[in-house]
Every structure is written in structure tokens, then in C-alpha cells.
């Protein structure tokens, strides 16, 4: 799109557009071809027809809903999974990747979606794990490791201490570490599985600059993301997958986001715009002068019954932390929180739940669900005081309660007694919502409710939250990093910057430019920020 590859990028004669790289005539432009790959896990056909073709010097987008087979395809390229059939060519030669080592040897580096960081090892060891340079006596040559990383880090133009342990690195720094790993491998095919899902806008920009750097050096980059704007911004071609099958591969020029969405979903997504004129009830949540030293300062706002208030802001601006302090997970140093006029005790989630607050955390796998527990028990978890008869919890009562909520939220599951981990990401999020809705909350706090969820389920979650507010008069406090979602959902939008509330917009006033401007402290938002989703999530 309009992004420039650094000021020197376009004038540098060696920077190539895809397909224009200097190569001897007749040489193959193709970096990697995967043909008709299939992979099943038990009865689940994760990949039915996996096809991908990467060229040198291109960034290739791979999009599809959750469960479309993207991650399986990535794991085949990583050598983690072996396909049951299909052929893989790297640089024109057919290869079989029977393990992560074989994949590395073929020049492929994969940056996995789930954090593949060893928190107790140093950055250098994380980069070189399993293939450390050796000196005499097969001892690890730590000196060379640090020197090589210094060169790579210098080349990327970032700062990263290779001797520190990885514990405590930000997600962005972890990704820099992964990219350093790819570079140290001398990999020419780099696969990134949702690298931006936990990054702030600044960090995404920095990542994109690195991707461009790699691409201009002639590498082939496979870029997987749920955020279509990013695909349009960074990629030259895109492959769409649906239900484990290849749908199409096309140049992005001439395509619009709706084309991709339709190809991903196989139908049109109904996504009606939020109205601004719901009937508001009384004040449900009243936050006054809330402070937590070093995290946020003097935050005051209210949420009324039937109202959806969105908290927007950059990474580290303190949004999630405010939510955690309201719910009582974190202590507050000053200020008060009341629900329906009743003050909440500081630092007591029990008190908050009793007062009718539901909290859907940012990290649903770690904090929102008990993954190794049955679906029905997860739903009933917050409602046991209603499910008790004569002091005991009755299984039948629990099950009927759970199946009632599962059908109301149109949860897609195998068996209610199956573990929460058997559900897809979108359905897991519905499960967390079901847990709190079962308590009939008067305030629902949702932190990044649609991150990593496919387009169709996302629209469903949006409708669900709107219905809750409009029909049941629930007060909703929502934290979101996706500007379209902020614009669509918020009756009011509050913007935080550096731990303070800096702006408030009504539904009619709000715009992407205004949010970005307030969040970054600029009156005129930077071009590159306004285009894409400029929000970061609030991981401390």
C-alpha cells in the first residue's frame, strides 16, 4: 500500500519488487511449493488440500478462519507435523521434512504463534538452542553466540542484550529474538504465524520494517494474520484457506478486504453498525479517582445500564490494569469503585462477583477458562451458589444449566463433558461469556473479546454483547485494540494514555483519527498510524 520501505528503500537499485530480483536467466523464481498436502488428527481432517507457493522476494499472506488449516500447514513447513500425502519442493528440489531440524536445514525458519521462548535461558541461548556453535571438546561456544547476535541485532537496528535471560522480555522483544533466530539460521524462507496479534502499533510498524528488510534481501516471507489490513499493507500476494482447503492465491493489487472475507467465510458476513441511541439506565459502574502507583493515575468514569463503553489506548497505557483493579484482581492505591451505588472492597474479586460484576480476561486460555475441565463445569463455575440444593451441587442441575447457556450462545462443541481445550478459540471465548452470563451480571468487563477469533464468530460475539446491553440492560466495559471494533461497539469511547484518561468521545464524535490522536498524544495523527489498527493491548 502506501508504506515506504524506509526512505532509501525505493532508491536502492538492489531493492527488488517480487519477481524482479537479479537472477540468471532460466533460474526458478519459486522458493517453496507445497502441493496437495493432507493431514488428519484422528477423525479431524485438519488439512484436506494444503497448497502454497512462495517466491523469492515476496511477502505472501495466508488468511483463513480459525480451523481453516493454517496452523497445520505451518507446522508441516516447520517439520513438526508430517503430511500424510502431498509434495514439498524447496528451491526446486523435493524435500521431506521429518523434524524441525530438517526444516531448518532446508532453510526454513518458522516463528510460531504460541510463544516458543525459554524464559530461563539467555537470549543468545534462545536464538541458538539445539544448534549452538561448538568449540573444542564439543563445548558450547558462548562467545561466538553473543558475537553473532550482536551482528544480527545491529543489522535489525534494535537493541537487545543477548546475555539477559528471556524472562520478562516484552512480546515485541520476544519476536525480535525469533527474527534474530531466523536470521542466524541464514534462513531464506521465513514463516510467521500471527506475529502481530499481541503487538502495539509501534511494534507492528517495527516488525513490518524488519519483514521488508528480509524481503528486500530476497527472502520469501509467509505472513499469517487475522488482521486483513496488515495483509494488504505488507504482502504482495495472498492465499486464502477454508476448511483445510486452498481457496485461491492472487496478487493483492485489485483485491479489497471484502473479497478475502467472503473467500474465507464462503458467505457474506452480516455486520450491522451499532446504533448510538439506546436507552440508558442508571449508573451501574462508578469509578472515582482510581490510582495504582506506576500503572495508572486518577481514573474516573461511569458506565450506565445498557451502555457499552470502550477503553482504547496504546500498549502499557493501563487499560487492562484498570479493569483488573475494578474487578479486584490487582490492589488499588487510591480511589473508589462502586456498583449500583454500593462501594466494592479493594482487591476482592469475590466481592466484585457478589456485586454482579463479570470479567472476561484478555488471556482466555490461561485466565478465563480451566482448560483441562469439562465444558459444562466451566460454564457452571461462577454460578455454583445458584446450583446448590441442600448444600450440594447436583450434576443434573449443572448439566441442564450448562446446556441451556451453550445453546443460547450457539456454542459448537462435541460433548459437554469434553474439556474446554477441545473447543476452537472462538468457541472458547463464547464459553467464558457463558460462564458470566449465567450469573446475570449487571456489569460485564470484556478485555479484547475478539482477539484471535475468526471473522464470523467475531461478528457473533459483537451481536451478543450488543444484545446484552440493549435487551437485558447489562453495562458493558470493553477493552479493544481494533479500531473498527472500537468504532462499531462503543456508545462512548474512553482513551487512555500513560495511565490517565485523556479523552472521551460519544458514538457520533468518534473516529479513528481522534482515537489515535488522543492515544499517542498527537493532535495530527501520523499517517501510518491512522491507516491500520493503532492500538496495542495492555499487557504490562
Amino acid at each position: 500500500m502506501e508504506r515506504e520501505v524506509g526512505a532509501t528503500g525505493t532508491s536502492d537499485p538492489e531493492v527488488a519488487e517480487p519477481g524482479e530480483r537479479k537472477r540468471s536467466p532460466g533460474e526458478d523464481q519459486t522458493a517453496l511449493v507445497l502441493e496437495h498436502a493432507t493431514k488428519s488428527f484422528g477423525a479431524v481432517h485438519a488439512l484436506v488440500d494444503g497448497d502454497i507457493t512462495l517466491q523469492w522476494g515476496e511477502t505472501h499472506g495466508l488468511v483463513g478462519e480459525n480451523g481453516a488449516g493454517k496452523s497445520t500447514l505451518v507446522k508441516i513447513l516447520a517439520g513438526v507435523h508430517q503430511p500424510e500425502s502431498g509434495r514439498l519442493f524447496v528451491n526446486g528440489r523435493e524435500v521431506t521434512l521429518d523434524g524441525p531440524g530438517a526444516s531448518r536445514a532446508a532453510g526454513i525458519a518458522v516463528i510460531h504463534q504460541e510463544a516458543s521462548v525459554f524464559p530461563d535461558l539467555s537470549v543468545a541461548e534462545n536464538v541458538f538452542i539445539g544448534r549452538e556453535p561448538l568449540r573444542s571438546g564439543r563445548r558450547i561456544d558462548f562467545k561466538t553466540m553473543h558475537e553473532e547476535i550482536a551482528v544480527i541485532v545491529d543489522r535489525l537496528g534494535v537493541r537487545l542484550d543477548s546475555r539477559r535471560i528471556a524472562k520478562g522480555l516484552s512480546v515485541a522483544d520476544q519476536q525480535i529474538m525469533e527474527i534474530a533466530k531466523a536470521l542466524s539460521l541464514n534462513a531464506s524462507i521465513i514463516v510467521m504465524d500471527e506475529p502481530t496479534s499481541s503487538l502495539s502499533a509501534h511494534e507492528v510498524n517495527r516488525l513490518f520494517e524488519m519483514i521488508e528488510l528480509l524481503r528486500c534481501d530476497g527472502a520469501a516471507v509467509l505472513f499469517i494474520s487475522h488482521r486483513l489490513q496488515e495483509v494488504f499493507e505488507i504482502c504482495q500476494r495472498v492465499t486464502v484457506m477454508r476448511d483445510g482447503r486452498h481457496v485461491f492465491t492472487r496478487p493483492l493489487a485489485g483485491l479489497v478486504a471484502d473479497d478475502l472475507v467472503q473467500a474465507m467465510v464462503g458467505r457474506e458476513v452480516v455486520d450491522r453498525a451499532a446504533g448510538g441511541g439506546q436507552q440508558m439506565g442508571d449508573v451501574v459502574l462508578d469509578v472515582e479517582h482510581l490510582s495504582r502507583e506506576g500503572v495508572f493515575t486518577d481514573v474516573s468514569f461511569t458506565v450506565r445500564a445498557g451502555e457499552i463503553v470502550v477503553l482504547a489506548g496504546l500498549v502499557g497505557s493501563g487499560r487492562s490494569e484498570v479493569a483488573r483493579a475494578i474487578f479486584g484482581i490487582d490492589q488499588r492505591d487510591a480511589g473508589s469503585v462502586s456498583i449500583n451505588g454500593r462501594p466494592l472492597r479493594a482487591g476482592s474479586p469475590t466481592d466484585a462477583i457478589a456485586a454482579g460484576v463479570g470479567y472476561v480476561p484478555e488471556d482466555r486460555r490461561q485466565q478465563g477458562l480451566v482448560m483441562a475441565m469439562a465444558i459444562d463445569r466451566n460454564i457452571a463455575l461462577a454460578s455454583y451458589d445458584h446450583l446448590k440444593r441442600k448444600g450440594l451441587i447436583w450434576g443434573a442441575l449443572e448439566r441442564s444449566f450448562a446446556s441451556d447457556w451453550a445453546s443460547r450462545l450457539r456454542l459448537k462443541y462435541g460433548r459437554l463433558s469434553g474439556n474446554a481445550s477441545t473447543l476452537s478459540g472462538g468457541n472458547q471465548q463464547k464459553l467464558v461469556l457463558a460462564k458470566w452470563l449465567g450469573r446475570n451480571p449487571s456489569l460485564l468487563i470484556v478485555d479484547e473479546p475478539t482477539r484471535g477469533i475468526d471473522v464470523a464468530t467475531k461478528a457473533e460475539v459483537h451481536r451478543l454483547l450488543e444484545a446484552l446491553a440493549a435487551e437485558q440492560g447489562v453495562a458493558v466495559l470493553m477493552i479493544s485494540s481494533e479500531l473498527p471494533e472500537v468504532l462499531r461497539m462503543g456508545n462512548r469511547t474512553l482513551v487512555m494514555r500513560e495511565g490517565r484518561l485523556v479523552a472521551e468521545f460519544s458514538h457520533s464524535e468518534v473516529s479513528e483519527e481522534r482515537i489515535v490522536g488522543a492515544a499517542t498524544g498527537q493532535t495530527e495523527p501520523a499517517d501510518n498510524l491512522a491507516k491500520t489498527d493503532a492500538m496495542g493491548h495492555g499487557t504490562p
Binding site: V5, G6, G9, D12, E27, W56, G79, V80, N91, G99, P100, G101, R104, G107, H112, E114, A115, S116, V117, F118, P119, D120, L121, I129, G130, E132, R138, R139, I140, R155, L156, G157, V158, R159, L160, D161, R163, R164, I165, K167, G168, S170, D173, L183, N186, A187, S188, H202, E203, N205, R206, C216, D217, G218, A219, G294, V295, G316, G499, P540
Partner: protein
């Protein structure tokens, strides 16, 4: 790679680098200084135990000057030597997020089998006896490792089972009998008692072994991979570390080491019955944790664990020297364990707090 000639991935592009913006630069810088603090504290954690040890000895000597007598030092060191050796094997297992609870039983079985050889084979050379002990330990370790690594049963449960199984085998072999000290040749008993200026020779050998083990864990690939497995098993799988093989090897080493420790135990105590080594496993795990090895794997060193063993052994002897009933010894070990873990946790939380505030303050 054939395409490397045509793919100039190594080429550096300083111009582009210079153009790159780094809006988070301040954040990166801000998080660096608390990180140094973290590294320092983790290093201190291992030195800290030495400080505690010295303090403890100083206080005890202040109250009871005879505490630092040659006989006491020798006793403390010999006692610690066996635990420290066991702790080396245990460290290898614990850093990979597993646990070996069978070491006490393995030690007992090996002590009996090896020392009993003197009665059965007249004039058997001592190296052969050591090999026999090693062999007993190796067999036990291979069983633990195979079930844990290849049948994927949690090692804690496997070794809890083998703790009883091996002890059962030990009891059924020995019955009510025992190997008595008088049946052992003098040059075998000398292994556990000969010393120079109060320092037993066997302790010196074990110090070298532990130093070698520590160096191996720190500077060789299989060693580092044990830490990686304990630090993040899923990531270890993704980068292709042979997890099963590494865990298997760790259990095998722990078993073999416990086997050798059994022979040293027999030479030191002389009298071997079916209760030899009972309860050692928990003392060893305590020593490992007190010595700074994370109970859920990923960090800590064999040297630290050895100092942990030395501290426990010193406390036991000091209590005796101070006239405290030896029945209080386990209570002190437990107290020390709680203190060590609370301290670790407290430091971690405090550091998180410091990092939180510093990061925030430096944000642009």
C-alpha cells in the same frame, strides 16, 4: 543450501538500518536495568547459600567453639558428600521438570549388593565392586527413564512407585540379615574414612565430579537442552530437542550416580541392612531446592545443589553440637526449605514490582 549463493541473506544493509525508527527504544532501555538486577539476584541466589552457610558456622562456633574440630568437619563433609552426589543426579532430573524419588531406594539396594560381594567373591577388586553398584543404579535409572520418557508417565509417579518397588526388592533379598562392617576389607572401609587435614579423600573426588557435572550442564548441548526442556517443554518440542532421549538420559544418570553413592555409603557406614538410604530422596530434593534449583525446572546448578546438601549436613551436625535434640533436625530442614522457597518467591514478586514501576516511569 544451493540457494544461498543466489540469496544474499547475509548481506548487511546499514543504510536501511540507519533509517529504521525505534519508537520503543526508551522502553527497551528502561527494562534493561531491572533485568540486570534479576540476573544479579539469580547469581546471588547461589552465592547466598554460601553466605548462609558461613553465617551458620560462625554463629555455631561462637556458641560452641569445639564445633569446628577436625572430627566434626570430617563428619559433616562425609555426610554431605553422599547427599551432594545424589543431588547432582537429582539436579539433572529436576531442571528438566521431572523428579527422581527413587534415589534413596537405589542407594540402599546398591549398598547391599555391592558390599555383599566381598563375602561372596573372595578378594574381589574394589573397582569391580564400584562397577556393580553403578550397574545396579543404571538398571534402576533405565527403568525410571524408559517409563517416564517413552511411556510418558509423569516421573514423579514413576519414581514414587520405584521407590517402593526397589525397596521391596532390597528387603526380599536381604531379609532380616545385614552386611556387617567386619566382613568388609579394610581398604574398602578406608575409602569412607581416610582423610587429609580432616578432609576425606572421597569428598575431594566428589567435588571434582560435581564440578564436572556442573560444567557439563552449563557448557554442553545435552546439558543446556535439559534446562530448555524444563523451561518450556512445548517450545523444546518445536525446536526439535529430543525430549524423550534427554529425559531418559537424565534419569539414567541419576540412577547411576545413586548406585555409586550406595557403594560409598557402604564403605562409610559399614553395616548395611534393608533400611539403608531410607528417606534420602526427600533430603536430596530439599538440598536441591535449598541450593537454588527451581522445583519446576529450567534454572539452578549442580554446584548450588551441592552447597544445599552441605548446608543441610552442617545444620544437622550443628544442632547436635549445640545440644539440640537430633529429633529437631527434620523440622529445621523443613523450615529451611520453606524459607528458601518463600525467599525466592518474595524476591521474584519484589522484582516484578520494581520492573513494573521502572518501565512505566521511563515510558515516553
Amino acid at each position: 543450501m544451493a540457494h544461498h549463493e543466489s540469496t544474499p541473506a547475509r548481506r548487511r544493509r546499514p543504510l536501511l538500518v540507519a533509517e529504521m525508527t525505534n519508537p520503543d527504544g526508551a522502553l527497551v532501555q528502561a527494562t534493561e536495568s531491572p533485568q540486570r538486577l534479576v540476573d544479579m539476584v539469580f547469581r546471588l541466589r547461589e552465592y547466598g547459600i554460601i553466605v548462609v552457610l558461613i553465617l551458620f558456622i560462625a554463629v555455631t562456633t561462637g556458641i560452641q567453639p569445639r564445633f569446628l574440630g577436625q572430627q566434626n568437619i570430617k563428619f559433616i563433609l562425609l555426610n554431605a558428600t553422599i547427599y551432594a552426589l545424589l543431588a547432582l543426579g537429582e539436579t539433572m532430573v529436576v531442571v528438566s521438570r521431572q523428579m527422581d524419588l527413587s534415589v534413596g531406594s537405589v542407594l540402599g539396594l546398591s549398598a547391599y549388593v555391592s558390599s555383599n560381594l566381598f563375602g561372596q567373591v573372595h578378594g574381589i577388586p574394589i573397582p569391580v565392586v564400584f562397577l556393580a553398584g553403578l550397574g545396579v543404579g543404571l538398571v534402576c535409572g533405565v527403568f525410571n527413564g524408559a517409563v517416564t520418557a517413552f511411556a510418558r508417565v509423569p516421573g514423579l509417579v514413576v519414581t514414587l512407585a520405584t521407590l517402593y518397588i526397589i525397596r521391596g526388592i532390597d528387603i526380599s533379598i536381604i531379609g532380616g540379615g545385614e552386611v556387617v562392617a567386619s566382613s568388609l576389607p579394610a581398604h574398602f572401609s578406608a575409602i569412607g574414612s581416610d582423610s587429609v587435614v580432616g578432609i576425606p579423600y572421597v569428598s575431594m573426588v566428589v567435588v571434582v565430579v560435581i564440578a564436572a557435572g556442573t560444567y557439563f550442564l552449563r557448557s554442553f548441548r545435552p546439558g543446556r537442552e535439559l534446562y530448555a526442556i524444563g523451561s518450556n517443554p512445548d517450545a523444546a518440542r518445536l525446536v526439535g530437542i529430543p525430549i524423550a532421549r534427554r529425559v531418559f538420559t537424565a534419569y539414567m544418570a541419576s540412577g547411576a550416580i545413586a548406585g555409586v553413592a550406595g557403594v560409598i555409603w557402604a564403605s562409610y557406614y559399614g553395616t548395611v541392612d534393608s533400611t539403608a538410604g531410607t528417606g534420602y530422596e526427600l533430603t536430596v530434593v530439599t538440598a536441591v531446592v535449598v541450593g537454588g534449583v527451581a522445583i519446576f525446572g529450567g534454572s539452578g546448578s549442580a554446584a548450588g545443589a551441592a552447597f544445599g546438601a552441605l548446608l543441610l549436613s552442617t545444620i544437622a551436625t550443628a544442632l547436635y553440637a549445640l545440644g539440640v535434640s537430633p529429633f529437631w533436625d527434620p523440622a529445621f530442614d523443613g523450615l529451611l526449605l520453606v524459607l528458601a522457597i518463600t525467599l525466592d518467591r518474595g524476591i521474584a514478586l519484589r522484582l516484578a514490582e520494581v520492573m513494573r514501576k521502572r518501565t512505566f516511569r521511563h515510558e515516553p
